[in-house]
Symmetry: C2
Subunit: 341 residues, 2 copies
């Protein structure tokens, strides 16, 4: 049986009120008493019962994150870094992280509903935002704080972090042109994703500015997995007039694209260029190493937590809509530093 506040009170012949207030740092308890209380509580191994505290304070000190519904089993390095960032930052602030894995959209809705209604979480973090995202509208109505990576176009006010890759793709496409690539292709994800729309738009814009061809027919939708990337790349590479530079919505997709290119017997970096997005640690160890636009996933997650925690504390956010500029990492998959095989 865990120690309760009552037992600490009895031991010291004080009231539970005093114990509680001493530990919470109220000014109406003598400094000596406070020290005594703190010491004894620690000695006795007292830890406040979370349920009781939550019930009384009407706070759960917990932030929720729901892994988006996916058809296939995911295994994304991205998410691990993301979760690590969330967890670390939350721990700093004394919050816990509740995670669920949505299987279907219905299931996902239920989860959100349940967490919000039962007050299991004080706030939420979202990613994989869609252009029109019911989650954002739903949470907006419930007025429960949340922060997102990427913004939907719903008319709801909430803090978010947005990646601005327009400059990055400009750099990438000029690099590709210098390397002699002519025809761009894009392997995206589900089209309703903000990430898909944004990256596609940036690439179009960059292709225009730099003077590379980008045939709309060379835009494919995959599913953000390496297998999805593999299938899409295979399809596009075996088409009549394939692109010679394939930009992927993320590294995971690019891993599959590399596979497909190898399979076609192409010399990657020379006959075909391939690039990813995210800058995951794995992208350094592929064969050949993957050119990618690097974003600080871990730090983004921490920042999102900070946004929610501050909102919960009633603080105003100095910068509720942060921008992140990805850094271009030029590696071998687009022709940099020819291998010395």
């Amino acid at each position: 049986m865990p120690i309760t506040i009552h037992e600490v009170a009895k031991r010291l012949n004080l009231s539970i009120t005093t114990i509680s207030r001493a530990l919470d740092g109220y000014s109406d308890v003598a400094e000596d008493t406070r020290q005594l209380v703190i010491r004894t509580a620690r000695e006795m191994g007292y830890t406040p019962n979370r349920a009781a505290r939550q019930l009384r304070r009407k706070k759960s000190e917990t932030i929720g994150f729901i892994l988006p519904a996916i058809t296939q089993r995911i295994a994304k390095p991205f998410f691990m870094e993301f979760i690590a960032g969330l967890g670390d930052e939350l721990t700093v602030h004394g919050y816990d992280l509740l995670v669920a894995n949505a299987t279907t959209e219905q299931n996902e809705r239920d989860l959100y509903q349940r967490w919000v209604d039962s007050r299991k979480v004080d706030g939420l973090i979202l990613n994989r935002v869609s252009i029109n995202d019911w989650r954002i509208r739903f949470l907006g109505e419930q007025n429960i704080p949340f922060a997102t990576l990427e913004r939907s176009s719903d008319e709801v006010e909430y803090p978010s972090i947005q990646v601005d890759g327009s400059e990055g793709y400009l750099q990438l496409t000029s690099h590709l042109r210098e390397m002699g690539f002519k025809q761009l292709g894009f392997i995206g994800g589900p089209e309703e994703l903000v990430n898909h729309a944004n990256r596609l738009a940036w690439i179009k814009q960059a292709a225009d500015r730099v003077g590379l061809a980008f045939d709309p027919a060379h835009t494919l939708s995959a599913d953000l997995t390496s297998t999805g990337g593999y299938l899409a790349a295979k399809k596009t590479l075996t088409s009549p007039h394939p692109p010679d530079a394939i930009l992927c919505i993320d590294d995971e997709t690019a891993f599959g694209a590399l596979h497909a290119a190898h399979e076609q017997g192409l010399v990657i970096g020379q006959q075909v260029g391939i690039a990813g997005f995210d800058g995951t640690p794995e992208s350094l160890h592929t064969e050949p190493s993957l050119t990618t636009l690097d974003i600080p996933v871990y730090d983004i997650a921490k920042e999102l937590v900070l946004m929610v925690v501050k909102t919960l504390a009633g603080e105003a956010l100095t910068e509720p809509h942060k921008k992140i500029i990805p850094a271009l990492l030029v590696r071998e998959s687009t022709g940099n530093q020819r291998k010395v095989k």
Copy 2:
């Protein structure tokens, strides 16, 4: 403000007792009343307050999982599958998943202590078990249910799943011998890990049985990351008498090893063989594709959850110590189906 049980009671002119018992399926409420209660509760959007329920029931309906302390930022596909499995199965049983990310061992201890003391979780799931694991001794003392992937040698009774790779490594080594490889090497993880000790022992045993050389000097400790695998493989491949077949403790490590072998200009699958462990989806898309021992990570996670949930429900486990036999996936990295470049 969320709806409480009181409001449902008032609406129906019943006592809160009856509402509570109706919803919980007790037999001392008339069937008609129960239906009415259930319907009205749903209509009004009533969801029980978790904190209140937990306080009264002394159960949190939450299972905890702490990402092991790591020095580097992890990005392991393994963990995502694992977490997905945990989450899915927990949802089925009405439990939630609390996740934390330990940064240091001290921090990890604090987390366990806090969760247990404050009754934040009813049970826990552990992996990356060490040969002597303080977490297992600690949780054993607290008698809070938990289940683990791999067993420590601590004298504590708890349900677990163990991978038995002896047969798998026998198959793998005979395959390697057939392919003409002579000298085995092993890139493991931290030596205190059960996984490291087991896999090393299996490989030794298999090498003996099959008649392949395995020089103890060819055993290295990496850190279960691709970069760690890269560095270790580079070291061993540039040593005076390098092994020509490198078995890695997991796929992630093997990714790095592939990189190192490419860098040395070796033809993988011919001049050097490389194998992983886990069978992650990514292992199919490396260049060349990775031979690996496949374990059903997702299902293992689900089974672990089941073990804990059943224990919490007071059910006896029919099989508290399950064994998993990995399946050998022979791919190109050990010479199967030469590439048609």
